[in-house]
């Protein structure tokens, strides 16, 4: 007997919310999560009782602050209706993006009509060596961490390999930091809303050679939220500013940098997830008007751009130098300041990318890309072992 396959449903983002990223000494991670969630719920024009599934993006609140079991914990704070589905999604720095991805699939498959995706991390309560150790646990704890490798260290390894293979210098990386700080200087929600100069970049201390302080995203607190809706639900509820999710892809590969299938300057999970997302969205690279990608370190912006297929290998190192990735350039990248200058509260990062893309497609961004219709986000975990790509279109 032939089984009937139900058609996949269309998915829309109806509401967005974000806190300022930075150091929030007086607030708990729960306070931050509530602030972002309520903004998104209000923006969507619904009440908490309308939500039927809850996806939390969070990396390591258990290690940062001793709280796990986050879906019930945050459920307790949000005034949701009784006994809904909730789960925390964790894929290191891609936790927020994967939470969004799972929520998207829940609606697409017809399991839910209104879903809240909430990314949050509070990191600044711990001292830097402890944060460094916790972040490093996203690498291979058995075979790699005993070397004293750090997260900046992983990306520094990619940098020396990239420079050796393709050329490039710290002067080129500086231009990426300068560009992202320029974008952040116009975004009051950014952790570092200030411009930097080449002199600032070169005067700053080394973190993991050849990466210095201004190559690295900061330690941050923050939260971001989006409300997703099925097409049927949007028809019955007047919602302004809808943005459609037209494609998404996700991929994981071997966690150890030593066990990648290609060389370490190619992000295979990023490439795979983007191939899937573009195929689903039925668009081409040159249809994309604005990109939010995972610049946890300046070099990551380079190899993300190449692995996503926007630049040929060895060529994205010049993108910021040539001004191409500024908000008024030919491929605007990280118009909110990126992880580098907007901040990187791990679990919130992927959801924050979605917030910025929605703002761009609504025409509400601080660095508005003129006439933006299609936006793409790429959220990466660890040293590139996991990645989500989501593509959005203005309705």
């Amino acid at each position: 007997m032939k089984t009937t396959v139900k058609p996949m449903k269309k998915v829309f983002i109806a509401g967005i919310g974000i806190t300022k990223f930075g150091k929030h000494s007086e607030k708990t991670f729960r306070d931050l999560a509530i602030e972002a969630a309520m903004k998104a719920i209000d923006d969507a024009g619904i009440t908490p009782k309308d939500i039927t599934e809850l996806y939390i993006g969070n990396f390591a609140q258990g290690m940062f602050e001793g709280q796990t079991h986050l879906a019930p914990t945050l459920y307790s704070d949000l005034g949701l209706k009784r006994n809904i589905k909730g789960v925390r999604v964790e894929n290191a720095c891609a936790s927020g993006g994967f939470a969004l991805y799972e929520a998207y699939r829940a609606i697409k498959a017809g399991y839910a009509d209104v879903v809240l995706v909430l990314g949050v991390e509070k990191m600044t309560a711990q001292k830097t060596p402890v944060v460094t150790k916790i972040l490093a646990t996203a690498g291979d704890a058995i075979y790699e961490l005993p070397t004293g490798i750090t997260f900046p260290g992983y990306f520094a390894l990619m940098t020396t390999a990239y420079f050796h293979e393709f050329g490039g210098s710290r002067e080129d990386l500086a231009e990426i930091a300068i560009k992202n700080h320029y974008h952040a200087s116009r975004n009051p929600y950014a952790q570092y809303p200030k411009q930097i100069t080449s002199e600032d970049y070169f005067k700053a201390p080394m973190i993991a050679e050849p990466l210095g302080l201004y190559d690295c995203s900061p330690i941050s607190d923050g939260a971001a939220a989006v409300v997703l809706m099925s097409e049927e639900y949007t028809k019955n509820n007047s919602s302004d500013g809808l943005v459609e999710v037209i494609g998404a892809g996700a991929s994981v590969t071997n966690v150890a940098l030593t066990e990648r299938f290609k060389d370490i300057t190619w992000l295979e999970a990023t490439a795979t997830s983007s191939e899937i997302a573009f195929k689903e969205a039925k668009i081409e690279r040159n249809d994309v008007d604005v990109v939010e990608l995972h610049d946890c370190f300046t070099i990551a912006e380079v190899i993300q751009l190449e692995s996503l297929g926007f630049y040929r290998r060895g060529e994205a190192i010049n993108a910021a130098v040539n001004g191409e990735t500024y908000y008024d350039g030919k491929l605007p990248v990280n118009t909110d300041g990126g992880l580098k200058a907007k901040g990187h509260p791990i679990g919130a990062t992927g959801v924050g990318m979605a917030v910025e893309i929605v703002k761009q497609l609504r025409g509400e961004a601080y660095n508005q890309v003129e006439g933006a219709e299609i936006g793409l986000m790429s959220n990466m975990g660890g040293s590139g072992a996991s990645n989500v790509v989501v593509i959005f279109r203005r309705v």
Binding site: Y143, G148, G153, A161, H164, M206, E209, N254
Partner: protein, 118 residues
């Protein structure tokens, strides 16, 4: 997992690894090949000599390593194709330099090989 075998080997001056009988690649994994998924693996001793694929010098160190900073971490491709991370002891290092496994460094996080220039 084979962490104990790997750490124990390093302490005895050996890099214990596994050769996949299916795809021929060498890894540190004793049960399932991380490259092809085969469960047919043969225990071997890897070469101690290899080339630096990438390097970094860590200035901001994690817990247990703070007193050693700055220190080098290298990604080495050993002559039989196994890629591993280790520390490097020496004045300077470049991609392509030949290094050899010389000693170990042990912390509460585990055991790391230490390479020197050949």
């Amino acid at each position: 997992m084979s962490a104990n075998t790997y750490y124990k080997g390093l302490k005895e001056g050996k890099i214990v690894a596994y050769k996949c009988k299916s795809c021929g690649k060498i890894s540190l994994k004793s049960i399932v090949c991380p490259f092809c998924g085969s469960r047919s693996l043969e225990k071997i001793e890897a070469d101690k000599v290899g080339k630096v694929i990438a390097y970094t010098r860590i200035f901001v160190a994690p817990e247990y390593f703070e007193d050693k900073a700055p220190y080098f971490v290298v990604l080495v491709e050993l002559n039989n194709g196994l890629r591993i991370l280790g520390q490097f002891e020496g004045e300077s290092i470049s991609v392509g330099d030949e290094v050899t496994f010389q000693s170990i460094r042990e912390t509460p996080l585990g055991v790391s090989p230490v390479f020197v220039k050949r």
